[in-house]
């Protein structure tokens, strides 16, 4: 008997239901966990996603795309396969996909985190037989601090820049991370501006009913704007670009889980790194995996090999799953994701599409 979901050249495929989850090529039918570009590929004939994901996905794959939204927790059938979507806590609309056929239950988590985040529905553990998990930060060096402390650090950085007459430019991935930072920061400190890419998603978040502090589009700010009091949110690709020059003297910071490592921060030549991630840290991964009660764990993108080995040593049947997801990366630049694990010792056999 072949597995309920298998990786083929196009993505993770359910042969019984004839659909893909997060395909990396255009396919007839795609169920999408969330709208980040490594999970939501353009050009599919039909998309299915969570209701809160719909607008964000539309902005990414094209306004005339065929997108079918489904509320979290509602079950439906595709070719006899029972499917439901459950919050993953990663970004607005992110979902774990529960797939059930003949009593066998799989859950594909996409990307997820367990920390509280007011900009999306919190992660919800789902019992299953096979759990497909990410491993972006699958090493015990990755442990996130309390979000309130990180927020306090960001506020303090902003205030101190104001005192020394510098604009505060904070780089954050424009979908998800930027909004999370916005929701965490104290808007009373000063005016907040956004890069066009960030503003576009802020608007969609607000339209979906997510409360965010007031922001202004940096591109239409008057020439006389006093940037030294401002916080400017921009995608990482704006770092080092001429776009930054308009703000005069700046202090730069980057919000990312990778900022936990000193070398990664220094290599980027930014002034500050804030450890803010939309992915589970090591304890988060272990907690989430435990909560599923899964007998089999398939590990995708990230530090696959260490997580697989750790799980196997702790009595789980774990395997690496070869996919093309990136995890947390820098928009518009080459991926900074380290590639720590060797080619998979036991790859899932690829079936022809």
């Amino acid at each position: 008997m072949s597995a309920l979901l298998q990786v083929n050249a196009n993505g993770l495929y359910c042969a019984v239901g004839a659909f893909y989850i997060d395909p990396w090529r255009p396919v007839p039918r795609a169920i999408v966990t969330h709208a980040h570009s490594d999970h939501a590929h353009w050009g599919c004939a039909a998309y299915l996603c969570s209701t809160p994901c719909q607008s964000v996905l539309r902005s990414r794959v094209g306004s005339d795309s065929n997108i079918e939204p489904r509320p979290y927790g509602e079950s439906f059938d595709i070719n006899g396969v029972r499917i439901s979507l459950h919050p993953a806590g990663h970004i607005l609309g992110s979902a774990q996909i529960r797939v059930e056929s003949r009593g066998e239950v799989w859950v594909v988590s996409g990307d997820y985190k367990l920390e509280p985040d007011s900009t999306c529905t919190p992660f919800e553990p789902v019992r299953c037989h096979t759990f497909v998990t990410e491993s972006t930060f699958g090493l015990p060096i990755y442990r996130w601090g309390a979000p309130s402390e990180t927020a306090a650090d960001m506020n303090a950085w902003w205030k101190s820049n104001q005192q020394s007459g510098k604009a505060s430019v904070l780089f954050a991935y424009s979908l998800g991370k930027a909004q999370r930072v916005l929701a965490a920061i104290d808007p009373a400190i000063g005016p907040i501006f956004g890069h066009g890419a960030v503003e576009k998603l802020n608007r969609i978040y607000r339209e979906t009913g997510i409360a965010l502090p007031e922001t202004h589009y940096a591109g239409s700010a008057p020439a006389a704007t006093d940037w030294s009091r401002a916080l400017i949110l921009a995608p990482p690709s704006a770092h080092g670009s001429t776009w930054i020059r308009r703000f005069g003297t700046v202090s730069t910071a980057f919000a990312s889980g990778w900022m936990r490592i000193r070398g990664t921060r220094r290599r980027r030549s930014i002034d500050r790194g804030f450890v803010v991630s939309d992915h589970a840290d090591w304890p988060g991964l272990i907690t989430a995996i435990d909560a599923t009660g899964a007998e089999c764990v398939l590990v995708t993108h990230g530090y696959r090999a260490p997580l697989v080995r750790w799980l196997c040593e702790h009595g789980r049947n774990a395997k690496a799953l070869e996919t093309r997801y990136d995890g947390e990366r820098d928009e518009g630049t080459e991926s900074e994701t380290p590639e720590p694990d060797s080619p998979d010792p036991d790859p899932i056999p690829q079936v022809p599409a």
């Binding site: 090493l139 015990p140 060096i141 442990r143 936990r260 490592i261 000193r262 070398g263 990664t264 220094r266 290599r267 030549s269 002034d271 500050r272 530090y303 090999a305 260490p306 080995r309 750790w310 040593e313 080459e334 380290p338 590639e339 720590p340 060797s342």
Partner: protein
């Protein structure tokens, strides 16, 4: 420790000189003198030798973190820094500590040397439990002898000058030599007046920048004194109170390693300091620097090595004469007096005057410079006549005018990840040249590429790995780099039979294919010409 860890973070988070000085100044102004003294000690790069074996440190950290050894290994690979890996893996602190830096250093760090393993372990674990990640990182760096932070000594001195009002050059001099960080020391260096008690203390070395732009922009050649630039160990030989001290530029007291020069110092008049270069020297000629390396590596200097590789001091300048600091006197005066000293002591065969090279024009000097390699020198030093001997690296009065380095095109064949800032990026490369149809490893190089180029090469390595040997990867031989290096000679310790000095990447030759790289044969010809 809290304040020192905060200072470290502040220095680590900015590249701007003014901000670094502000952070240092604020620190010195706010901490007790005993802490400030230790901070200076560490900031200017002095540190205790490794006090504990890495293996034990890792063992205790792994037990405290409750993870298997292999997971520590994986984590270390991702971080690339031992002290940091440990600080990130340990569980959250259970207490906090307001104890000052000097307590941690004097009561907890230095005694590690004397304690047995049980005591060491207990002390380290309780320290870790009382520190946050930032403090642990700094603490682990101090324990492992790897503490470094992005400030130069001159920045530290500028901050101390700002706090104390004492002249920076005076402070720099007071920081030289052998001293123990203490309250007394701190008060002494910041004192307005000081009867300097340390007889061994050397002067800060005057260092030159490479010449910028065309040589004749320096003006009339007669305003300049040219000397050959030697490649040895820059040193100061000092005679005070009937004792001799030999200091390296790294401020290491190396008297015992050069008994010939200790004997030479014994002939100097009381109160003398000479700046020069230690060179392996035989029959009126320098020996290749590799000979010196043979000698430096030895703990015990037997009669054979002393006979095989004798050294001389190439005398450059005179800094103290008759117990008086003469650095402010004009170059000509110092030179004339130095000549007297050398001629009075040269019968020992251990001192040689660095002779001025007189030519009528820059053109003539340029011609002469082509002989540099054959003479075993690196080029010229140019010193402005009438100039004083200054402190540290300064533009204007001294310039170094080195010959072009050797250059060879070689193929990237092995790579391994770097450390610290370059951890988890492949930045350390081994290059091969052709020996018939095979590429033999020829040199390793780590520097010379931009961050952007490193990222591209890193991506290439990940896509084109052939085999992995621990952290090292063999790579499909496709990328060609122009390597530059200063010296070349035969070596039995290298597989190619060749050793080069200071290899680095001069350029990424994207225009060349691997088959265009140089051959061992053409490189051997360089040795013949050297």
């Amino acid at each position: 420790m809290r304040a020192f860890a905060q200072l470290f973070t502040a220095l680590d988070e900015t590249t701007k000189t003014n901000e670094k000085i502000a952070a240092l100044t604020a620190y010195f102004a706010s901490v007790p003198p005993a802490d400030a003294a230790w901070a200076i000690h560490f900031l200017i790069g002095r540190r205790p030798k490794r006090l504990i074996e890495t293996r034990k440190l890792v063992e205790w950290a792994v037990a405290e973190a409750e993870i298997p050894d292999w997971l520590f290994g994986e984590s270390y690979q991702a971080v690339g820094d031992l002290a940091e890996t440990i600080s990130l893996l340990l569980p959250a602190p259970t207490t906090s500590s307001e104890l000052p830096l000097h307590y941690w250093v004097e009561e907890r760090l230095l005694p590690l040397k004397e304690w047995d393993d049980a005591k060491r372990r207990e002390s380290l674990v309780t320290a870790w439990r009382a520190m946050n990640e930032r403090q642990r990182f700094v603490w682990n760096k101090l324990i492992t002898g790897g503490f470094r932070v992005g400030v130069s000594q001159s920045l530290v001195v500028r901050a101390m000058a700002a706090v104390s009002g004492v002249d920076a050059a005076v402070l720099a001099h007071r920081l030289m030599g052998d001293w123990m960080p203490s309250v007394e020391f701190y008060e002494r260096i910041l004192a307005k007046e000081s009867a300097d008690a340390d007889v061994s203390r050397p002067y800060p070395f005057f260092l030159a920048y490479p010449i910028e732009g065309p040589i004749d922009a320096l003006g009339d050649i007669h305003h300049w004194q040219a000397e050959w630039k030697w490649d040895g160990i820059r040193a100061q030989l000092i005679r005070r109170q009937w004792r001799t001290f030999l200091w390296s530029r790294g401020e290491e007291l190396i008297t015992e390693r050069f008994p010939e020069l200790e004997a030479l110092g014994g002939l100097f008049p009381e109160g003398t300091a000479v700046d020069g270069e230690i060179l392996p020297w035989k029959n009126g000629m320098p020996l290749p620097f590799a000979q010196m390396q043979r000698r430096i590596g030895r703990k015990v200097l037997g009669p054979k090595i002393l006979a095989d590789v004798p050294v001389s001091l190439l005398a450059y300048d005179l800094l103290e004469w008759g117990g008086e600091d003469v650095r402010e006197r004009p170059l000509e005066w110092r030179r004339e007096t130095l000549e007297q000293l050398v001629s009075a002591t040269k019968s020992t065969g251990r001192i040689v005057l660095s002779e001025p090279v007189n030519t009528a024009s820059w053109g003539d000097l340029t011609t002469l410079r082509r002989e540099a390699r054959a003479r075993g020198v690196e080029g010229f030093m140019l010193k402005r006549k009438g100039s004083s001997y200054r402190v540290g690296r300064k533009r204007g009065d001294w310039w170094k005018w080195k010959i072009e380095p050797y250059s060879v095109d070689a193929v990237l064949i092995y790579a391994q990840p770097g450390n610290g800032r370059r951890a988890s990026l492949f930045t350390d490369y081994t290059f091969g040249v052709w020996d018939g149809a095979t590429l033999v490893p020829f040199a390793k190089a780590y520097s010379g590429l931009t961050d952007e180029e490193i990222r591209k090469v890193d991506a290439f390595i990940r896509r084109n790995t052939i085999e992995k040997f621990g952290p090292v990867r063999s790579v499909r031989p496709e990328l060609v780099f122009e390597l530059a290096f200063e010296g070349i000679q035969k070596s039995s310790r290298h597989r190619s039979g060749i050793a080069v000095r200071f290899p680095r990447m001069a350029r990424w030759r994207t225009d060349k294919k691997p088959e265009d790289a140089d051959t061992l044969e053409t490189i051997r010809a360089l040795i013949a010409g050297a």
